[in-house]
Symmetry: C2
Subunit: 471 residues, 2 copies
């Protein structure tokens, strides 16, 4: 280990110069030049590592339209390095969030700047830092231990910040190429109390709009005694989705929620959940049903949601206007857990409404993503935990799932794999905001952590295979 | 009768010139000169009639504010004419709706113009036509039959188009002066099928806003599993106000709805209700609960409403935004029937919500007005019906109540009286719209009808008193 750390120190200034170079490219959606430069730079860097690089084209525009043409479709840079029967897939991305509002940056977003031991630039943490740290970690590994005894597959995409529209078809098209014995995803960071935190999944999402239409136009409200009201229909329909204790009562919905495993429960119970701080920040007196911190943490991580994002009907200004609105709609998002797919939710909603006579309530699907949830006992997860404990000197905080949603499923459970989110960030990283930054010490320790993980992964995976074979 | 009709014909051109003169004054809210001119003209015309005129000041501004000062408060012109133990109150107003949009008028709104037997001007029907027709009717009556054998009290206000903010305090202050044996209100007109239509009441109104507040700001919707949602609270609270058959289920609400009397039901059943036409105009396949025309008519006239005017919470634009809104509100109007006062409704709402644990739902009262409903067998109503039948040659259509709301209660039931809406309008009058007009023949026949009513009123009232004494 000391050896590894010495190699990193010896390469520190070159590694940092490479990172700054990578961060200069404005690889923002809609900027084909910046995206192309970043993709080319990654391909080149992977070749220099000794990787077998290929470009996976994302094909014709998924949604058609004016942007069209292959040239504007950011391709996936794929590379494989190492040899052996085992393999590991690494997912990161080279595109970054738009830097607006520019005036809030202390230094320009695409001119990396070091201050107080931090490196400021758009993409420093999300996700160029993660991407390059993994490449450099392999270089350090090779210098320390020789060739990787398994195949590490880099999958570096350029559309993450616009919702990864090609991830599902790419996963299907290149299933054999991508399928491995585990996945390391982007993300993971130090929390406010400097505890290293990793995530074994993300929630899915189903964003829908429910619409009810009445007459041809709004009417004088004097007619409310005889003219059916879309707003009342919507309220009546919605009210059947939840009880007054905030339990979701859509027929069959909760039946699709897998109970947490004993191992998941064990990890969730150890998650520090600063309930008092969250409630103070948000200005709420209590969590739903006055849940204590542990219960709230478990709900947040493991339970689906049925949320109203927006209600719209009729008059919305100050004062009084006596109108019977001709339309009413609600925008809703459901945060999904495994098995509860967007398709399942829409089917359940339709049947639930129809059974209650609400055939007039139209369901419009806006967005959908399947949840990802890995087995917390999987080798890739356990190797990460062991490596983090070794390098960071503390047990990492393990979330069986992130509370938010992401496109992890397509490349992980979608291909029958387990995966875990690890990354270079910290609580002050300003992700998606002005002055995005990483702490330089975090960056180099993350490389050290990754080397340790690469060292442990094959034996952990083999032990797991042997145990399975023996059982 | 022939004699009356001859007198009207003899005075036709002068009566018309007077009406045109009256219609020239731009007596619109916010125009003190125009309002003052109209008030002065009415006072003068009533003096010329032999009336004992007095001005009832509306006092200091009811709502305070920048408009302040007595000079800007349109006073009520009050006058009494005739002698006798019986009395009758006439309510009309000299203020008019703003004429905007001006460009849609074929001739200027305050330059009366005759075309095709119609007189076009703002206020022609609402309500200078009604006001002057009543003054001229008394003049004709006097010429035909001599002094009025009862006291007719003219109450001509100047704030009707801004919601009659001083009517309730004025009614209290001048109760003894105003209390009479019946009231004739403004309104009433020929319908599309040229049936003369009168109304024995109007609905009240209670306009409220219900608000639920959550945290200090909107949150990322990932937290929906642990953070209480104001939008869901509002939906759950609202859903208890109505069942899925559109019955109002607010505790105690329907208990305050008086059953219709046999006489009211009799009139309501004779009301022509063009249901098919209404449904086609509005683009709806059916009335609530597929009511037939007769049922719909009775509901529209006699039942209160609980209507959603507007729903507001969170995200209202195109597309998807995953947010947990921190506030939710609904604007509602209740159309009220007698006994179901705005105060009663707000009290019932509060208790209904509290009983179900919705103490967090705030009720903001925006507007309130008590319903008016007169006894359809009252002398003033029966005298109107008999006079209409005589002059118009047909049974009038009698609505026990208008479906809309108005400030009738203060001067009618509020002072223990019965009243009825009669007026000079017709279905093409364009009330509150550009090109407001009356048909000139309607105007002079309306004077004839009013004379006949004035002739019948004392005997009808005396017969009723005698019957009551005998019983």
């Amino acid at each position: 280990m000391d050896h590894v750390s010495e190699i990193i120190t010896a390469n520190r200034s070159r590694f940092l110069a490479e990172l700054e170079e990578f961060l200069c490219f404005p690889s923002v959606a809609g900027n084909p030049l910046g995206l192309g430069q970043a993709a080319g730079w990654v391909a080149n860097r992977l070749t220099a590592l000794g990787g077998r690089v290929r470009v996976l084209p994302t094909g014709t525009p998924a949604t058609g339209g004016a942007m069209g043409g292959l040239v504007e479709q950011p391709s996936v840079v794929f590379a494989e390095t190492g040899q052996g029967p085992l393999s590991l897939l690494s997912y990161t991305h080279y595109d970054v969030q738009p830097p607006d509002p520019l005036e809030l940056w202390d230094t320009p977003p695409f001119e990396p700047s070091q201050r107080d031991g931090k490196l400021y630039a758009r993409g420093a943490t999300d996700d160029k830092g993660d991407t390059l740290a993994r490449i450099q970690a392999v270089e350090v590994y090779k210098q320390a231990y020789g060739e990787l005894p398994f195949r590490l597959k880099f999958f570096v995409e350029g559309e993450e910040e616009v919702g990864s529209p090609h991830l599902v078809p790419l996963a299907e098209q290149y299933a054999d190429l991508l399928r491995s014995d585990g996945v390391i995803w982007e993300g993971g960071s130090f929390d406010e109390a400097e505890r290293y935190t990793v995530y074994c999944g993300v929630k899915g999402i189903c964003f829908v709009e429910l619409r009810v239409r009445g007459g041809a136009h709004d009417l004088h409200s004097a007619y409310a005694s005889i003219v059916p009201s879309p707003a009342w229909r919507l309220v009546q329909a919605l009210s059947t989705f939840k009880d007054t204790h905030d339990n979701i009562t859509i027929d069959g919905f909760m039946d699709l929620v897998r109970p947490s495993t004993p191992a998941e429960l064990d990890y969730m119970r150890r998650i520090p959940f600063p309930g008092a701080q969250m409630k103070a920040n948000w200005g709420i007196p209590a969590f739903i049903e006055d849940a204590d911190d542990r219960t709230a943490a478990i709900r947040f991580i493991s339970q689906p949601t049925c949320n109203i994002c927006g209600l719209v009907s009729g008059f919305s200004d100050e004062g009084a206007k006596t109108v019977l609105p001709s339309t009413a709609s609600v925008k809703m998002d459901f945060r999904l857990v495994p098995d509860l797919t967007p398709e399942a939710v829409i089917g359940l909603l339709r049947r639930h409404l129809d059974r209650r006579g609400f055939r007039d309530v139209e369901i419009v699907s806006w967005d959908g993503m399947v949840a990802a949830r890995s087995d917390v006992t999987a080798p890739v997860v356990q190797a990460v935990i062991a490596a983090a404990q070794r390098v960071y000197g503390q047990e990492p905080v393990v979330y069986p799932s992130h509370g938010g949603s992401g496109p992890m499923h397509a490349l992980v459970q979608g291909l029958g794999m387990d995966g875990i989110m690890v990354g270079v960030g910290y609580s002050g990283e300003h992700m998606h905001a002005p002055n995005e930054n990483i702490r330089l010490d975090d960056y180099f320790r993350h490389i050290e952590f990754l080397v340790e993980f690469l060292r442990r992964f094959p034996s952990t995976a083999r032990a797991s295979t042997d145990a399975a074979a023996a059982a």
